[in-house]
């Protein structure tokens, strides 16, 4: 019983401590990495990043776009036929 308590306590102390240590190191490493990258390989002007956006897009949005497309084309065609 006491054993369980001490295990639980030490899990909390060391676990939480480790999470903080790890993420602190990650903050430092990431910051360092960003600094080095910005210094030695400065990014060009921010591109619109179209492609990445597309990938991240949820399926729903894609469908929506498709529908828009169809709507737009339908309109265009009606116009075309009505000439």
């Amino acid at each position: 019983m006491d054993n369980l308590l001490s295990e639980g306590l030490s899990l909390m102390v060391f676990g939480m401590g480790f999470v903080f240590v790890f993420l602190t190191l990650l903050v430092i490493a990431t910051g360092l990495m960003s600094k080095v990258v910005t210094k030695y390989a400065p990014a060009p002007e921010p591109k619109p990043a179209r492609k990445t956006a597309r990938q991240a897009e949820p399926t729903g949005a894609a469908t929506a776009k498709n529908d828009e497309l169809v709507a737009v084309i339908t309109a265009a065609v009606h116009k075309y036929r009505s000439h």
């Binding site: 369980l4 790890f22 490493a29 990431t30 960003s34």
Partner: protein, 433 residues
């Protein structure tokens, strides 16, 4: 006529137990929540359906060949199993008990005996073996999640990683809670159980399933259901806590726009994270390794077809099997236990504590930074529950200040929370695995 009797005595309605009936209701309830209330439907639809399948009487879909053999209890088969398991009693309960406690080779032998007698693993049991017992399904989901994650907001403001750390306190506090319930005699959890229950507080489904499958597989059903249900409930659980712990002035704080993050930084981040994992916590390597791999595929820009597949066809296929496999652990004998109530209770406590710690950490960081640059509402997003928690932060921000869009600022702690709970998972596996 004998055939008619066979059909009748083998029918579900003749054999259904109260527990199975109740679990089928629970399965239907999960489907209702998923479909009508939109509770994490991608997981809860398969889990709920799998739960119903697992409780169909006499079908044995969730049982191994040996369990099915014992269920039908032909004396000669029981006798052979008893001798294989090296016990004198041929009572079904004793055999099952010995079987579950036996080592891998005895297990394999018993399985062959059951197959020789014409019994086979149920469909869901096979799915469970392949998807979860092997560990592969949660890892592939994590790879897909990595391929869907944009670390841009985190890289623009790496300090938000601290929020993702603080919110993991919910995990460890819950471990203590489970220990306390055991010490007071209310429940009976081992330290492995406690660790697995705690990870619910990580608000990250695949991490919870991965850890539980390693530390406390018998609790998998309850823990997965709790984890996904509470993730769906984040918009209800978090706001009161967030309001209670922040002042109106704090909630009004507008954060400055995030800097642009270059492609190179995004490519290097998963590699930096991987190396840190490799150096500090090898036990988190499977989870975070696959996560980083997915993210690298996404960002590197030269393997788009692999990244597309990882975040579509592959993750969908794995989700179907993962959900059904988790559902297989909703069989009455495993789920209908007072422990499940304890898990549900502890799980919500974990979410609450995690949310509170995230907010408090954000308050502290804001104070240290001069008091007007970090809106504490983004702290709650540190529990993960991506992207729901970040949306909650955004919503509360808009309530206080209609011009205050916190979404991108909250995405930093949000994805940091995923890393944080994966690190916590690694520590758990190291210490009590």
């Amino acid at each position: 006529m004998e055939k008619l009797l066979t059909l009748l005595t083998a029918s579900g309605i003749y054999n259904i137990s109260g527990g199975q009936f109740f679990m089928i209701l629970i399965g239907l309830g999960l489907l209702f929540l998923a479909i009508r209330k939109n509770f994490e439907p991608l997981l809860l639809v398969p889990i709920g359906f799998g739960g119903i399948l697992a409780n169909i009487p006499e079908a044995g879909l969730a049982y191994s060949a040996v369990e099915n053999a014992v269920h039908f209890a032909k004396p000669e088969v029981l006798q052979t199993l008893a001798s294989v398991l090296n016990i004198s009693s041929a009572d079904p309960h004793d055999i099952l008990h010995a079987y579950h406690g036996s080592n891998a080779s005895t297990h394999a032998t018993a399985s062959l005996v059951a197959q020789d007698a014409g019994y086979s693993n149920g469909m869901l049991y096979n799915f469970y073996l392949v998807a979860i017992a092997s560990g592969v399904a949660p890892l592939l989901i994590f790879m897909g999640v990595g391929a869907m994650t944009d670390f841009g907001p985190l890289l623009a403001n790496p300090k938000t990683l601290f929020l993702g750390a603080a919110a993991q306190f919910g995990i460890f506090a819950t471990v203590l809670g489970a220990v306390a319930l055991t010490l007071t005699g209310v429940m009976d959890f081992s330290i492995q159980d406690a660790a697995a229950i705690g990870i619910i507080g990580g608000a990250d489904g695949p991490t919870a399933i991965y850890v539980t499958s390693l530390l406390a597989p018998q609790l998998l059903g309850a823990i997965a259901v709790a984890a996904y249900s509470y993730m769906a409930l984040v918009p209800l659980i978090q706001p009161p806590i967030m309001r209670a712990l922040t002042t109106e002035a704090e909630r009004k704080i507008k954060m400055s726009q995030l800097r642009h993050v270059s492609k190179t930084e995004k490519i290097l981040f998963p590699i930096v994270l991987l190396i840190l994992v490799a150096l500090l916590l090898p036990d988190a390597a499977p989870l975070l390794g696959m996560f980083c791999f997915g993210n690298l595929m996404r960002e590197c820009g030269v393997v788009d077809r692999l990244s597309d597949t990882a975040q579509n066809a592959l993750i969908n296929i794995v989700t179907i099997f993962l959900g059904l496999s988790v559902g297989s652990k909703l069989s009455a004998d495993k789920f209908l236990d007072v422990q499940t109530l304890g898990i549900l209770l502890l799980g919500i406590v974990a979410f609450g504590i995690g949310t509170a710690c995230g907010v408090l950490m954000a308050k502290a960081m804001n104070k240290m930074a001069g008091g007007n640059s970090i809106n504490p509402l983004i702290g709650s997003a540190g529990v993960s529950a991506v992207p729901m928690a970040a949306r909650v932060s955004n919503k509360l921000g808009l309530e206080s200040n209609a011009q205050n869009f916190l979404l991108m600022h909250a995405m930093g702690p949000n994805v940091a929370g995923v890393i944080g709970s994966a690190v916590a998972a690694g520590v758990m596996i190291k210490f009590v695995g």
